[in-house]
């Protein structure tokens, strides 16, 4: 029984199918095409047919070419009794799954499809095409109407620059060092090397010296502190738990979940004026209140690694260590699977497998529960998945039986 007795949806849903495309810096495919492949693979993996899908849970950051409704028609889905959408990118992906879990737990649907598709690899983004022309933050107009006007004119405009400011203050306040950030980068690359589907694995492992030699992007962050940008899509099927036991794959039960809203990192002007410590920990408090498990029960964690410092902050926010101890926690290979203290992102994460807005971490979390990861953690019966803490955010716990 969880501490929050009003949370009545523990283990009422399960992830029963996963699917993905290849990951690459350029696939020459539309986001719709890739989404279709990942969705159909996830449905097949679950042992279902497209007509069995009666719900959808998705991101507001959608396809580039088409509306999702068009996609669903193209691949023979429809008649959704449950249709839900979560806002934002890196912050949304955990909530996409928990929303799907609510959909099946409430009886509105039996099998809900969730997916993310991105054509953001270098070859897909740079060029003269309609959807090309650079990164989103490079495509600013001469006059800025939104909140970007309070930072873009000063040259503070890309996510890495904003996260670099947060990282610098984090180092100042708690004595975290660049070598702590390196621990994250090194662990992610190690996992990617074991994972033949990762984008960076073929380049081999990186050492602390490699990390220190990598070029500055926005001090104190280097190239190896930054996630990669890729093409690819992933999808999962969330099913009623009472159906999941009779399905094709070993189910990954969605044990508990929670959501939270953080101060906006956008403009950075509000980031520190609230009580950061109290606010940052709220997601973790809610998650553990909704769960029968504790942080020590978690065998592997999937944390949003768009930039290395955010993994250390997430360890603190989610209660794996105390405030300011994320750096120390990462020492001695603690984040490295299969035998580290808490293996994190055993697929290589967004830093080294692929950047599908975190969604590829969900597929890997399911593989850990199934026992099929390329960096399999022994007796992995409970994992935690968390989204970016810099947006509206969320987290969930998967467990076997």
């Amino acid at each position: 029984m969880p501490k929050n007795k009003r949370f009545i949806v523990n283990d009422r849903a399960a992830i029963t199918g996963i699917g993905q495309t290849a990951f690459s810096s350029g696939l020459n495919r539309s986001t719709m095409d890739m989404a279709a492949e990942a969705i159909l693979k996830a449905i097949a993996d679950a042992g279902l047919k497209p007509k069995d899908i009666d719900g959808v849970s998705k991101y507001s950051f959608g396809l580039q070419e088409e509306t999702e409704n068009h996609l669903f028609q193209e691949i023979g889905l429809g008649n959704f009794g449950f249709y839900a959408e979560q806002a934002h990118g890196g912050g949304a992906y955990a909530a996409v799954i928990s929303t799907a879990a609510l959909g099946v737990a409430s009886g509105m649907a039996d099998h809900v499809i969730c997916f993310r598709s991105r054509a953001r690899g270098r070859k897909s983004v740079f060029g003269p095409g309609r959807d090309q022309g650079g990164r989103p933050w490079e495509k600013v107009s001469q006059r800025i109407t939104g909140r970007g006007q309070y930072h873009v004119p000063f040259g503070l405009m890309s996510p890495v620059q904003e996260m670099a400011c947060i990282a610098r203050r984090y180092m100042h306040d708690y004595g975290v060092t660049e070598d702590h950030f390196a621990n994250v980068a090194i662990a992610m690359r190690k996992h990617a090397v074991a994972n033949p589907l990762s984008v960076m694995g073929s380049r081999g492992p990186i050492s602390l010296e490699d990390y220190r030699q990598s070029r500055w992007i926005a001090e104190p962050l280097r190239l190896y502190d930054c996630c990669i940008e890729t093409d690819g899509a992933t999808a999962v099927v969330v099913s009623r738990a009472d159906l999941a036991g009779r399905m094709r794959r070993k189910p990954a039960l969605i044990h508990a979940f929670a959501q939270d809203t953080k101060p906006a990192h956008y403009t950075l002007s509000d980031w520190w004026r609230w009580d950061r410590d109290a606010m940052a920990l709220e997601l973790g408090r809610r998650l553990w209140a909704n769960s029968e498990l504790k942080a020590k029960d978690i065998k592997a964690a999937f944390l949003y690694d768009h930039f290395t410092p955010m993994v250390l902050l997430a360890l603190e926010d989610l209660g794996f260590c105390k405030r300011g101890e994320g750096g120390a926690f990462s020492e001695k290979g603690a984040l490295e699977g299969p035998h580290g203290r808490l293996p994190v992102n055993t697929n290589g994460g967004q830093l080294s497998e692929a950047f599908i807005h975190g969604f590829n971490n969900i597929n890997e979390a399911v593989r850990q529960i199934r026992g099929t990861s390329t960096t399999q953690v022994p007796n992995c019966n409970a994992v935690l998945v968390a989204a970016a803490a810099s947006d509206p955010t969320g987290a969930f716990i998967l467990r076997s039986e």
């Binding site: 600013v140 006059r143 873009v152 040259g155 947060i166």
Partner: protein, 146 residues
């Protein structure tokens, strides 16, 4: 806000704010080289960026108040990638967040007249003005001795 960069190419000039109903007074003061921020008449907190009501008590008595224009570097980055051609000649560019002397209020801004390697958290700075266009002056920050 975005335009199809593939067709038009990246923006060559410095991107500038487009004032709207919630913030035109802020930019009007900037044009006069004056730093004014909103202060809630009820809770007495200062707020930036400009907004129609106070997030603490929902009061709409947000009084435009003259600031000393002084603060300290709260955090910063040295940007090595310019992102836009407008910043290509400026990298490595020190840019950060200033905590103003009046209280718990922060402004993102560009740091001028300082070598990137000399920027420190806690460094005292004061506002300095850059006339970017006929209608827009941008608040920049420059180190001061105390």
């Amino acid at each position: 806000m975005t335009q199809p960069g593939g067709k038009y190419g990246p923006l060559a000039a410095l991107p500038l704010p487009e004032p709207g109903w919630d913030n035109y007074k802020f930019w009007d003061y900037c044009k006069q080289h004056k730093l004014y921020l909103q202060r809630c008449a009820k809770c007495r907190n200062y707020w930036y960026y400009p907004r129609p009501l106070c997030p603490v008590d929902q009061s709409r008595e947000m009084v435009w108040t003259k600031m000393s224009g002084k603060g300290k570097v709260w955090t910063f980055t040295i940007a090595h990638h310019p992102v836009l051609p407008a910043f290509a000649k400026d990298v490595p560019l020190p840019v950060g967040v200033i905590k103003l002397d009046e209280g718990k209020v922060y402004m993102a801004g560009r740091l001028m007249n300082v070598k990137p390697q000399d920027v420190r958290i806690g460094m005292p700075v004061k506002v300095t003005w850059f006339d970017a266009s006929e209608d827009i002056s941008l608040p920049y920050w420059t180190p001061i001795r105390r």
